[in-house]
Amino acid sequence: MKRVSLVLTIALAAGLAGQPASAQTLKTIKDRGMLSCGVSQGLPGFSSPDDKGNWTGLDVDVCRAIAAAIFNDPTKVKFVPTSAKDRFTALQSGEVDLLSRNTTWTLSRDTALGANFTGVTYYDGQGFMVKKSLKVNSALELNSASVCVQTGTTTELNLADYFKGNNMKYEVIAFATLEETLKSYESGRCDVYTTDMSGLYASRLKLANPTDHVVLPEVISKEPLGPMVRHGDDQWFDIVKWTLFAMIDAEEMGVTQKNVDEMAKSEKPDLKRAFGTDGNFGEQLGLTKDWFSRIIKAVGNYGESFDRNVGAGSKLQIARGVNQLWNKGGIQYAPPIR
């Protein structure tokens, strides 16, 4: 009797779960009361926890902005650390609602993985880091070197292309997590550590003697990093997309974390549209009328988030460079809110 009832219970559960995951992500998040956000396992500047467990970073800010837009509370986020190896499975299976995890936008990831990229948080490129004591000045001197990479990344593929294209031999050692890769590089198992440039600067901070390591000048690939959501839910896709665009538009329009309330009272037409005084753009997304002010109050505009996490106001000191606004010399460009 016990055996049969157990089987029946399992069968019922399986049957009820037999409905395919439909376009219900926003509703699921609201019911749950929390946004589930896939982040890295600790990359300073992008997503890393401090010793009290508070997550900060550029990718973390995007998640907090979305939580603020939905719940008016940027702390209603559950951060799920994922390694490069299991991040996509976490998204595909529904464990996380979005991946904000310095992931490169490529065609195969946009299609075969069953996911969509919603925008570019950071335009990056891949580089190499070596110990200063090796006296290497260029990536072209790295013939027959040993290279440590994280497995399951575009880094691995670009590395193969670069060395093959320049007729150089190399030995690749691929690890599952960031920590192991860094530890092996530090211990001398490999000569070179390669990942995106921003990752190199961030990881260098985690090493015992950051000044002993030098980042080589070559940038060997394009790495546009951005958030990812699952296929099949257009509303959720739009929400994540327009949250990032709101942050960029805010910087363009001069709205900062400090002057949100003041700007909300402005008579300029583009500000009135953004703040919900004119039109119902928030409702069209499935959010509230004050979605824009919630986002900027929570995390500031794109420039503020950049400076605080990876730029002049952080330990990384990365220049805006290509990530500057389009009308100030960079290529960050968001469509208008209208």
Partner: protein, 401 residues
Amino acid sequence: MSIASRSPPPQFAFRLKRALGGKAGWGGVAFQIVFVLILFWVGYEIFVNASANVETQRIASGFGFLNNNAGFDVSQTLIPYSGSDTYFRVFLVGLLNTILVSVISIFFATVLGVIVALGRLSSNWLMSRVAGAYVELVRNLPLLFQMLFWYLAVLAALPSPRQSVSLFGVFFLNNRGLIVPKPIGEAGFEPFLVAVLVAITASVALHRHARRQLFGEGKVIRVWPYVLGLLIGLPLLATLVFGAPFKIELPQLKGFNFAGGARVVPELVALAVALSTYTAAFIAENVRSGILAVHKGQVEAGLSLGLSRGAVLRLIVMPQALRVILPPLTSQYLSLTKNSSLAVAIGYPDLVSVFAGTALSQTGQSIEIIAITMGVYLALSLLTSLIMNFYDWRLGRSLGA
């Protein structure tokens, strides 16, 4: 108290059971059929659910990805492999690496396990305590930590390539691995190999013939001069007739690493050592229980015949102990093969790391790849069990039990 007659209690459950299943009740045929149908329905639902989800999210599916370019390199490959080979070749590379490390570890684990078991059973107080401490310590620590310990301990102790420890100027030890001169096959390689194989087969046949003569007719034949002659003489003959079998390629330090020569990567060493020592602790206990299971009278009979303790162990105790040792030993071997999948933690490119790790992330087809990986481990395990069960059967036959 009145002695009025009472009717029997309702017995609903009993009557229901009888009505539904006949005399066999819940175990009857009807219920078995229903149970099997429910199982199939659960499996079907799981399959349909997964397919529907994959459809909605438009994740790529099917096995066509095996023909696509992998695009990434692998550090240790037993077959030639480059970045432009297919995912199927990546799968083969991973599979061969797993088999390599499993075979090496099984061999060393068995040898070490038997030694530790005998040590634990010895009458020398120190030896038995040391062996006991080894078993208790190694059995109770998680394998992953032991693996990381060996990897970080092995690596931390070794110097960088530019300061390698060198033996005779041809062997080099550094934290990239052990670099040895590599024999490169020349014209006389195949005949040499054939000669070695023939020599080994002849030696085995000679040994069996001698044994049969000993037990059948009491004739003692000294086999070892013939074996030595065969093992040295036949390959030498092949070399003389067909030419040198290989030339030696010496490793040389060029830039960052050594060029030429063959290399045993430290990941393989750390993995093999960790797996061997861990499984040896379990095997030691199995062997010890097998030896203890043999009746004490057997040992006494052997000693009274004038055999030494070593001969008693080898000729009388071990054959009988093997009946008890083999089934759990098979489990240990299967467990070792599956534990080798932890290689991903130290960067050794085995099947899980390269196929179910990198290839899975690059193609996104989790279901197909995990199914293939599980199928491969199942096949490897079944193959190992098959071999061990065959050996068990042979043993049972020869002991007449």
